[in-house]
């Protein structure tokens, strides 16, 4: 068990190293000089050279790479030129919006997907099954930021139940903050729930064919009791895996949805940095979120080992 964890952890470190190298190389080979972008086209050559020196751009690539990674490991992500503050602080501040948003979206999507998947499987081949499939197909086909726009039209502009956008900040009270996050989380959750519901449906159908289900029925449990006590818990395992794999899509979706609802999260930060062409902020945010995705997948893997002892023997 311990050796598997150690091996997976080594894999995680290797992945993070390759990822950081990839981000760094892309920033190197794609044309565009951070110092020149910062100063604009009319910069004098000596000013440019001075800024390049102060940003460390005159150093060899390997030295700059190691300085960047080493800095990040110490919590030093560099300084944003548009905001004039450390990027680490910016990321921490924005994470306080993006992380709760992502968690809410995950919770909402499972709350929608699990009953829907179970219903579709239990009524396999009947109207409810086709209804659930149709719902899933429709949710998968539309962009989450468009769902966000529709939610604004109906619940903010039309009914006035929710704010159309913006974030009051956690200091303004948890209730108001959660209220501001609910519509964006729902916009993110609907396409996710479509994916999860399909997986849940397939998993429930799979488990229903197992022998222990027949045994449970034979010893006199009702259909409903068998379904919820024996089938559903066993069908949840693949759903957890997909949740982990979908996390990357969730983060990508958050970038768009945060911009629809004007939420000061990491996606909005990356977008604003794009408008300002603040390359350092973009590089660090991309690296941070990619690392977050990998770490989440690692944790899901670990959770798996705990949940399913049969996997411990495998590598």
């Amino acid at each position: 068990m311990l050796s598997i964890i150690a091996r997976r952890f080594a894999g995680l470190l290797l992945t993070l190293t390759v990822m950081s190298a990839a981000v760094f190389v892309v920033m190197e080979v794609v044309p565009g000089d951070p110092a020149a972008i910062q100063l604009g086209t009319s910069a004098r050559p000596d000013t440019l050279a001075a800024l390049r020196a102060s940003m460390g751009l005159d150093q060899p690539a390997l030295v700059r790479y190691l300085a960047w990674v080493g800095g990040m490991l110490h919590g030093d992500f560099g300084t944003s030129f548009t905001y004039g503050v450390p990027v680490a602080g910016l990321i921490a501040e924005r994470l306080a919006v993006t992380l709760p948003l992502a968690v809410m979206a995950i919770v909402l999507s499972t709350l929608i997907a699990i009953p829907l998947g179970v219903l579709a499987a239990a009524r396999h081949g009947k109207a409810a099954d086709y209804g659930a499939t149709l719902f899933a197909q429709l949710c998968l086909a539309v962009p989450n930021f468009w769902i966000g726009l529709l939610l604004i039209v109906v619940f903010a502009v039309g009914l006035g139940w929710f704010p159309a956008g913006g974030f009051p900040g956690w200091s303004a009270g948890i209730g108001a903050s959660l209220k501001a996050l609910l519509l964006p989380a729902l916009a993110l959750a609907l396409p996710q729930s479509a994916v999860l519901a399909r997986v849940m449906r397939a998993a429930v159908l799979d488990v229903m064919g197992e022998e222990f289900v027949a045994t449970a029925r034979a010893k006199g449990l009702t259909r409903r009791a068998t379904l919820w006590r024996h089938v559903v818990p066993n069908a949840l395992v693949p759903v957890v895996t997909i949740l982990g794999l979908q996390f990357s899509f969730l983060i990508a979706g958050a970038v768009l949805v945060e911009n629809v609802f004007v939420l000061p999260g990491l996606g909005r930060l990356a977008f604003q940095a794009l408008a300002q062409r603040d390359l350092l902020v973009i590089r660090d945010v991309v690296m941070f979120l990619a690392a977050l995705v990998v770490v989440v997948n690692f944790l899901v893997d670990m959770a798996y080992l705990v949940l399913d002892p049969r996997l411990r023997g495998r590598t």
């Binding site: 992945t15 390759v18 990822m19 990839a22 981000v23 892309v26 920033m27 794609v30 044309p31 565009g32 579709a120 081949g125 099954d129 499939t133 197909q137 429709l138 998968l140 086909a141 539309v142 962009p143 930021f145 468009w146 726009l149 529709l150 604004i152 039209v153 502009v157 159309a164 399909r198 449906r201 397939a202 990357s248 899509f249 983060i251 990508a252 979706g253 970038v255 768009l256 911009n259 629809v260 996606g267 990356a270 977008f271 940095a273 794009l274 062409r277 603040d278 390359l279 973009i282 590089r283 945010v285 991309v286 979120l289 990619a290 995705v293 990998v294 997948n297």
Partner: protein, 273 residues
């Protein structure tokens, strides 16, 4: 499930994608109005008051913009899928043919690439290269490479284990000839299914990128930018936000149904939802 019902996704998907492809091609030679022509006197007209679907905040005809947007969306998505499918298939075939260290290395790299949120990386590319069609194509296409590499590899590995491949090897054919003559024809079905499914995803991603201003440069109309513009007029003209989203939804639905239908057709054991 009846046979007719099973073939419904394929029929519906084929019909939807053919219609949208037709509309996008038609937009190259004819639209009701010039999609970029601004008429401030006619701005924000509701549907049927001016043209079939009204006008936007510059008085541009919404129907014409949708048609031209279809072409922009499909051409970018198509080129991105072409990039991802060709590079990914090549890598997948190589990994399956060579096996060993190269195989595990390529698949590990594919995993890592897959973990990058595509929109964020497009923001990174956009900041460096400036927004535009090329940025969008590369940003979307690069992240399709691991998907195609994985699908091709896992299908190709199975073909490599077949007896006829063994026979071909015994006959003295080299790895590249076997790949070309035996492996590729047998995995092409699964690649085509994936092309349809990834096309839908590419249309969604393109819409997201042009929503953020990272797609084709203005004034060329895109569905994503139409939605971004519509956001300012949500209370005055909600139909402007409704229509491009429906266009995106129908397109993606078409490609997803087509992909699902083709998969069922190629492998009748699967499916049923």
């Amino acid at each position: 499930m009846s046979a007719a019902l099973r073939r419904l996704p394929l029929l519906l998907g084929g019909l939807l994608t053919a219609t949208i492809l037709g509309i996008s091609l038609l937009s190259l030679v004819w639209t009701p109005e010039t999609p970029t022509r601004m008429r401030f006197a006619l701005k924000l007209r509701p549907p049927l008051a001016q043209g079939l679907l009204g006008t936007d905040h510059f008085g541009r005809d919404v129907v014409s913009m949708l048609m031209a947007g279809a072409w922009n969306s499909l051409s970018i998505a198509g080129l991105a899928v072409l990039l991802g499918a060709s590079v990914g298939t090549l890598l997948g075939l190589t990994a399956a043919a060579r096996g060993g260290l190269l195989d595990s290395l390529l698949m590990r790299l594919a995993d890592i690439l897959f973990a990058f949120p595509a929109v964020l990386s497009a923001i990174m590319l956009g900041a460096l290269m400036g927004p535009g069609a090329l940025t969008a194509i590369i940003a979307i296409g690069v992240f399709m490479v691991p998907v195609f590499a994985r699908v091709t590899r896992s299908a190709a590995v199975q073909v490599w284990a077949r007896d006829y491949v063994l026979a071909a090897r015994a006959a003295g054919k080299g790895a590249s000839r076997i790949t070309l003559e035996h492996v590729l024809p047998n995995v092409s079905g699964q690649i085509i299914v994936q092309v349809a499914l990834q096309f839908g995803l590419a249309v969604l991603t393109e819409a997201g990128l042009s929503f953020l201003g990272l797609g084709v440069a203005p004034p060329a109309p895109t569905w994503g930018r139409m939605l971004a513009d519509a956001q300012t007029y949500l209370s005055a003209a909600p139909h402007l936000a409704l229509v491009p989203g429906i266009a995106i939804g129908l397109t993606v639905l078409g490609f997803n149904l087509l992909g699902d239908g083709l998969r069922d057709l190629l492998d009748p054991r699967r499916g049923g939802g």
